[in-house]
Amino acid sequence: MKTADMTAGSQTRPAIDTEAIRRDFPALNQRVYGKPLVYLDNAATTQKPQVVMDALIGFYTRDCANIHRGVHLLSERATRAYEAARAKVRRFIHAADEKEIVFVRGATEAINLVAQSFARPRIGAGDEILISAMEHHSNIVPWQILCEQTGARLSVIPMNQRGELLMDAYEGLLGPRTRLVAVAHVSNALGTLNPVRRIVELAHRREVPVLLDGAQAVPHARVDVTELDCDFYAFSGHKMYGPTGVGILHGKMAHFEAMPPYQGGGDMISSVTFEKTTYNRIPYKFEAGTPNIAGGIALGAAIDYLEGIGMDRIATHERDLLQYATGVLAKLPKVRLIGTAAEKAAVLSFVVEGVHAHDVGTILDQEGIAIRTGHHCAQPVMDFFHVPATARASLAFYNTREEIDALAAGLRKVSEVFS
């Protein structure tokens, strides 16, 4: 089961050759409105390397069959490829066992699964779920639904003006009624890298389980769920260069064993009669119905690709790029960064004085620059900073300094139009 840590020792390898890397991503090599595409919306979704698309097409071309049920060769090949992808995920996030890896549709479904199958049976009126002020709606709304169902309450860890969680306040909020902590590993709207190891440790001291939303973390740095010791870890395939419609819920085996299924259907059972159904073992208990087989296999291909480059090299490149971009934006007088935490992923959320984010987005788009504008599915974050919306450039390892310069030129154009 144990395999070598693929990322170990990669720090000594040379820096990323973005020119070569970019050839792996066909979508990056196109012009929009006659200008080279500058894709800076990676926190929304990343572009896909050719090997991921080859895996999708390869499955449908040669191996298309349902898994875990056919006796025929194609079904066997499909099952093997799908389970091999599960093994790759386990290795990639350093989970203890493949049984801890559940395929879901995405981080959103993973969180909903934990809310309904793990939290709901063990929570009652007056109990508390603790989330943070910088959560994505997907790590707010499932808990609000749960609170409505059970009479539990939602508590919120506050943050400071830089977008950093107030850890003292967090400790104070961990009370006798706290039943679960659910926090983003990296904030999608601000880029803040939260001290999740410490968050887990403090919660565990009070025997409170912790779910980490890793959707924005997994694509950008080495994640080790065993070292983090979190109870659940959720992430999406499409934000880590894999296809849409597939994601992962990692959970500790003891939790998974104790939890009831999330959905009923085929594949999650071992026997069914009209009188009684016996559920399948984990992780299959949580995988009702035919899953996104091609998506799972292609996610495995994305992991192979990322490991080939090395997560440490990816993190180094993105850190360098973030530093460069922060410096470049600081030189633009009308641009103000929202989210200036000391520990950050390569996300630059900003406002342009006197110009609404939506107008910024349209003008940049005309320059071939794709960014996100709006509330980033984090309306409470916008309210906290008293802005209706921000513009957000989120970087990936295939982005270059030249593209940051193009962003700066685009922002100067914004100021020109609105001068």
Binding site: V355, H356, A357, H358, T362, G374, M382, P388, F418
Partner: protein
């Protein structure tokens, strides 16, 4: 390729910088709120309707240049118009920004014709029409917040 200047015409930028009728009249007898959840734009439209005529119209809110200018110019255009005229102008305006109107006949829209550039930016049609949808809700007496999504 669409020219940005077609979208961000000087008149639009001017109404964005100095929106007209941006206030809350005390004597309004019609009111509705509009919201674009996609970009967070919010607008409230206030109307004093007497004998089927828009005697006063104003708005408040926060939004992009297109939505603010559209709300501002809407209030200027519709003051003194009848409900039926307002409905007809909205229809024409919608045709204009979605590219359904013929280029040759912008006369009825007057100054609103500057929004023709929006047709090249389908993502921005909702910005241009938010205030208008909200006005329609205000005139029909709807209490629900108008959402573009």
């Amino acid at each position: 390729m669409a020219d940005l200047r077609e979208l961000y015409q000087e008149v639009i930028l001017d109404h964005h910088r100095r929106p007209r009728n941006c206030r809350r009249p005390d004597d309004a007898n019609r009111h509705a709120d509009g919201f674009n959840p996609l970009c967070g734009d919010k607008v409230s439209v206030f109307v004093r309707l007497e004998d089927g005529v828009v005697r006063d119209i104003a708005f408040q809110g926060s939004g992009c240049a297109i939505s603010t200018a559209s709300a501002s110019m809407m209030t200027e255009t519709l003051k003194g118009k009848s409900e039926a005229e307002a409905a007809r102008i909205f229809e024409r305006f919608q045709d204009l920004v979605t590219g359904k109107a013929a280029d040759s006949d912008p006369s009825e829209l007057g100054k609103l014709a500057v929004f023709a550039g929006v047709r090249d930016y389908p993502m921005r049609v909702k910005c241009a029409t938010l205030a208008w949808h909200t006005l329609r809700a205000a005139l029909s007496g709807s209490r629900e917040t108008v959402a573009t999504e």
